[in-house]
Amino acid sequence: MSITDMTSMAEAQSDLRSEINKRLERLILGVSDYCYQCAKCTSGCESHKLLELEPHQIVALLKRGLIDEMVNSEIIWTCMSCFKCKERCPQKVPPVDILFALKNLTVLTGKQVPGDYTQMLQSVMSIGYIQDRQTVPTRSGDTVKREDLGLPVLSGLQDPNGFQNIITASAVEKI
């Protein structure tokens, strides 16, 4: 017995599907199965008009088990994480969290991570923050540093090496 998507010849990946659902439950976030495709999420999706993200479609594909189609698609990286889909879903389905799960899955399978995420991750690993202190412009055309503004010294990590080891372990861990 099997169900095949005749456009891509893909078959349902039910194991992955239940893994994602289990993960959603574990994080007390909800269950995707309740979706009845009212598309309230997509009607209000901040990314839809600009990048054509269709959260209801993501949930539907997950229900069908067509995970690879999404993992291999750029579309999952277009979410603005505004949480409107989750907030307004009449069935308490969290498309935004499903998208996070799919992105995590993509990273775990070793696929290329788009944009500046890698850089932010490296920065966090080394100094604990996504970026180091910046020199910023003023309206009058000057530039200033944090130190110039009378702000206290930003305390860094107490044990950077230890932190790095522990965080690295977490960064590759499954939920």
């Binding site: 990314s47 979410c79 603005m80 505004c82 996070f100 966090v124 003023t138 309206r139 944090r146 009378g150």
Partner: protein, 291 residues
């Protein structure tokens, strides 16, 4: 009231005006700010990479507050979301708490979960109270109608309890009113600033910012008031680019709620980092005499 300031990433590394205005205004309202060593990123910006990492990072910051037995002031909505979500997961899932605590133990930390989290808005509105604000006001601000922008992550998801009503937030408006500033409703109030798309879709991200700026501008607001460093980065620091990306010539003064409070309290604008705002805040005519 004593609170540890959880700075997050953006505020202490580039959104200096937010931090300056917080450090200036809160002590005037009876809040003592404590700086604790060892904080790091909340993990939320890396949630797309690995949610476990986010949870761990949030938990480690929370456990630093647990160690000191102090509540946290979290001025960044994104951090506030991450920490709230972590609390929600760890308090509701014993197995996960054990797992995370095993990691934290390597740093000599433990998540207990005693700390409360405050954002600026609920701190001022619910804890300090509007009466106190009215008492502190030293200066009559010009007659302004400012668009309030909360930032998605302080509104949603409401299920884990956010500082404000997710669909009809009124606390920022109430605070503004007690400073003598009007804030009318507008249809786009709950819309995103576009910021989270910046890492991988910078152009779309700016377009989103531009659209909202245009909407605010069209509806005749005098400016925008914010309480999120990411949104400020988009609406203020990147305003020109954002407006250009949607072919708009929006010219919208944008400032932090805490900056506006500081000005009404009669604090010198330099101490509030007002010269770090790149949007045309001078247009608001805020630098009047203290009464």
């Amino acid at each position: 009231m004593k609170l540890a300031l959880y700075p997050g990433c953006l505020m202490p590394t580039e959104q200096y005006a937010y931090e300056m205005s917080i450090r200036e205004t809160l002590p005037l309202m009876g809040v003592e700010i404590v700086d604790l060593p060892g904080f790091s990123c909340c993990g939320e910006p890396l949630k797309s990479i690995n949610q476990m990492l986010t949870l761990h990072m949030s938990a480690r910051n929370l456990s630093i507050a647990d160690r000191e037995g102090i509540d946290l002031l979290v001025p960044c909505p994104m951090c506030h979301l991450a920490l709230s979500e972590a609390k929600n997961i760890l308090d509701g899932n014993g197995e996960m708490k054990k797992r995370i605590n095993a990691k934290l133990r390597e740093e000599g930390l433990e998540y207990i979960g005693k700390q409360r989290l405050f954002h600026i808005i609920d701190l001022v509105h619910d804890e300090i109270g509007l009466d106190t604000i009215r008492e502190r006001v030293k200066k009559t601000l010009p007659d302004l109608n400012m668009a309030a922008h909360y930032g998605c992550h302080i509104l949603r998801p409401s299920e884990m309890g956010r500082p404000v009503d997710s669909e009809n937030p009124r606390k920022m408006e109430a605070i503004l009113l007690s400073l003598g500033v009007r804030s009318e409703d507008y249809a786009e109030k709950l819309d995103c600033c576009g910021g989270p798309l910046l890492p991988n879709h910078p152009e779309t991200s700016l377009a989103k910012t531009g659209q909202k700026l245009q909407a605010v501008s069209e509806q005749g607001f005098d400016g925008m008031v914010l309480a999120c460093p990411w949104c400020q980065k988009m609406f203020d620091s990147k305003q020109t680019k954002a407006a250009e990306s949607v072919g708009s010539r929006a010219h919208v003064p944008v400032l932090y709620l805490t900056q506006l409070m500081g000005l009404a309290f009669g604090i010198d604008d330099a101490k509030l980092g007002l010269n770090l705002n790149l949007s045309p805040v001078d247009d608001l005519g805020l630098k009047g005499e203290v009464e």
